[in-house]
Symmetry: C2
Subunit: 459 residues, 2 copies
């Protein structure tokens, strides 16, 4: 039984698990500027709208039926529905639904969708404990900071290896946020991070199946339970992140410890969070945006001969499906995204319905899209040239798509997106009250009023 392969390990890593634990515990409440505080509310609202919008999707329904086998107690609400389940199951299901339509937030440096794991765990726990809105916002800012900093530490190698980084780092964010919400001390918070380190959830191979949105849900549930276990004295390695056989070195070949410590408590990763105008993976957004712009310049399904896209290699690697057979596969097709942009001028969830993805005119346009990898094109950009049947060419270059940090969605854009998702589930009147409650969450005595508005038939 020979054991030959060895890890070329960094044995001198700084104690980042401890450093993060002390930050989680000691950073002052609302210890950031107004822009960060506002971004936290935007992040929360965008996440909530996504979860409500997908409440009736089969992924959430199937997960709920599985959870109901456990006969869970009614501790926390499933957003956009009337059922209540235990807090770990609520974290799981709300995490699943919030990512089901691939319409949630994106931390662009890492392609992490940070709200799913963190907000799903925090809101479920807060509904049970009655934590204040202030505590909730604090937990969200700090939890997202922790998962995104861990993501920065290992990206891109960790992602390239095949980990769905949202789920593999999300458990840390959820554990951090719940530890903060529970008021754990630094020793127990360090244990919570350690327990979470052993539970990375997510392989990129699952893209295009329900297990992709399972990843943030599983991370939310695992992180929440890690904090509860730590509170009860459960132990883990004190160096679970940085040790030679800890999370970073086992799951990545890059581990830049400075990404944890640089400007910790001064720069907050939630500042770099973005929200999607299109209901699909972020790498397709420049292409869809380009096609929306081509449409505005008079290009139509009827006069189009072909569209030539020059794209970053990741676009085809992640979303190269040429002939998607249904809506879920359509999410992984830059071709379908372009067809939606050109025909409808948008790519919201309704443009990913099964019968749209297979509709004759949509299929016709997507087959006219030719995407070529160009090493000079940034991941955030696309170069698109439409050739019309009369020989004319229309050229669009998108440097940064709508929804990027450089061209962020406005608060009004976010409200419009929220309404488009939540109105069909909860009704416009209730949704208006719910959005107001979201903007005021930081001042609310607790989250229960907001949660009641997020439930079907609530008020």
């Amino acid at each position: 039984m020979a054991l030959n392969t060895k890890i070329d390990a960094d044995h001198n890593a700084p104690p980042v698990t401890r450093i993060l634990a002390e930050y989680i515990v000691n950073h002052p409440s609302r210890g950031w500027d107004d822009a960060v505080e506002h971004e936290a509310h935007r992040t929360f609202m965008n996440w909530l709208g996504c979860a409500v919008g997908a409440a009736g999707h089969e992924a959430g329904e199937a997960a709920l039926r599985a959870v109901q086998v456990l006969q869970p107690s009614a501790q926390a609400s499933i957003l956009g529905r009337s059922e209540q389940v235990d807090i770990a199951s609520a974290a799981l299901i709300n995490g699943i639904t919030s990512h089901t339509f691939d319409f949630d937030d994106t931390h662009l440096k890492t392609i992490i969708h940070p709200a799913g794991p963190v907000c799903s765990a925090v809101l479920a726990l807060a509904e049970l404990t009655g934590a204040s809105g202030r505590q909730i916002i604090d937990a969200i800012v700090i939890g997202i900071d922790v998962s995104c900093r861990i993501g920065n530490m290992v990206y891109p190698h960790h992602y390239d290896r095949g980990w769905h980084i949202t789920g593999s780092t999300g458990g840390f964010g959820a554990a951090a946020a719940c530890a903060r919400l529970l008021g754990l001390d630094a020793d127990k918070t360090q244990m919570a991070l350690g327990i979470a380190a052993s539970q990375p959830v997510g392989l990129r191979e699952q893209f295009g199946t329900m297990t992709k949105p399972f990843h943030p849900g599983g991370a939310a549930s695992a992180g929440l339970m890690s904090a509860l276990l730590a509170r009860e004295g459960f132990t883990a390695s004190k160096r679970a992140i940085e040790a030679p056989r800890g999370f970073a070195q086992v799951l990545s070949t890059k581990f830049d410890w400075n990404e944890i410590t640089d400007e910790l408590g001064k720069r907050f990763e939630i500042s770099f969070n973005t929200y999607k105008p299109f209901a699909c993976g972020i790498v397709i957004h420049p292409s869809i945006d380009a096609c929306v712009q081509l449409r505005a310049q008079g290009v139509t399904a009827e006069n189009l001969e072909r569209i030539d896209l020059r794209v970053h290699s990741l676009v085809l690697e992640l979303t190269g499906k040429k002939e998607p057979a249904d809506g879920l596969q359509g999410k992984f097709s830059v071709y379908h995204g372009c067809a939606a942009g050109l025909i409808f001028g948008r790519a919201s969830e309704s443009e990913y319905a099964d019968d749209i993805v297979t509709r004759e005119d949509v299929v016709g346009v997507r087959r006219k899209v030719v995407a070529t990898i160009d090493d000079n094109i940034d991941e955030a950009s696309v170069d698109a040239v439409a050739t019309l049947k009369d020989g004319r060419k229309v050229h669009v270059f998108v440097e940064h798509a709508i929804g990027s940090l450089q061209r962020p969605m406005s608060d009004q854009d976010l409200e419009a997106k929220f309404s488009s998702q939540a109105d069909p589930v909860l009704g416009a009147g209730q949704v208006r009250k719910l959005m107001d409650a979201c903007w005021k969450l930081g001042q609310a005595p607790d989250a229960r009023g907001l949660v009641a508005l997020a439930r079907k038939g609530g008020q």
Copy 2:
């Protein structure tokens, strides 16, 4: 945002996820010889004794308190206790307790402890559904076959990288066993394996903390939920194990697909399961065995000058703690193991009590142990020379320790081990009935009678 590192992926892997799913579903009930059938009962009984024996340990207590926050329904029993919790939580806690004392079974080819994830999930589910003893034994044989074959596929590279292979492959075993127990078809079983693939639990960095036994518990719970999700139509990749970004290629640099397919349904990995006579990691067993033999040849704490061990490198890598401060650390100290063997002639759980590990005479002996890595010594062996104060030398060479495949524990040995663990918890009379029920499990109408005997105050 450059993404340079690429996986050197095997794109032509055979469809092992599908192959395993069809095996799980289609292999006939009791489709093996009497030796395999008997080994399944030995595996189950050994696991049960370990779980009962550790029922009062702080790791299980802390996990139970955390789970009770969820106000779980009383669906399944915690072994060796009176509480009942939901089936996922029971799988978690029984998985934790069964591995808490590092006294459970070992599949030597992979150092997997296979019963923890599989039996913990199966028994909890069977208690709820009323599955027959026959179905339970079938599920255990097949579940253990699946996790150990996946282990064989990636061992040792996966383990060397830092994964605690018991937890990282255990979810597959639990999912396979529960899928079989639930009667899922091949398509849904394939999905159950796929969902489990995204939830590997376990870093070796956690050794020496409660999160080590958490790994089989977490795997049991994750595998059980994967089967329940799949039954409800939840989807995953059909190639979650073998795809370029699937489990094997993301979590290992070795992936020998033949380990899945060779003699599938003819050779059963449970045949190669072993049971520990000593309550610690298997790599120390030859050393402890050697010291027990030195003791039998008259070596004592009083007449000993020093013991020179020549060991495989893994012994010091895994269990090189020179000055363990408590019982849990003692498990990772070949020095303490040797002291226990020499002074007490055994290393059961009581020799890992905190006050034994720090007792003056025990510390004195362990400091006389000098362990040297010798590349000519197999992992299964040890060469020990005791030098006495009068200058005499006593030499023992252990080729295979007691409890190995070559020198297996007898059924009577297993009963004695079971009693030593369970009698203090349940009382000798109840334990005698419980052992009888274990030997007859394959013929029982269901597991409920057995489970009642495994509960504190049961009968």
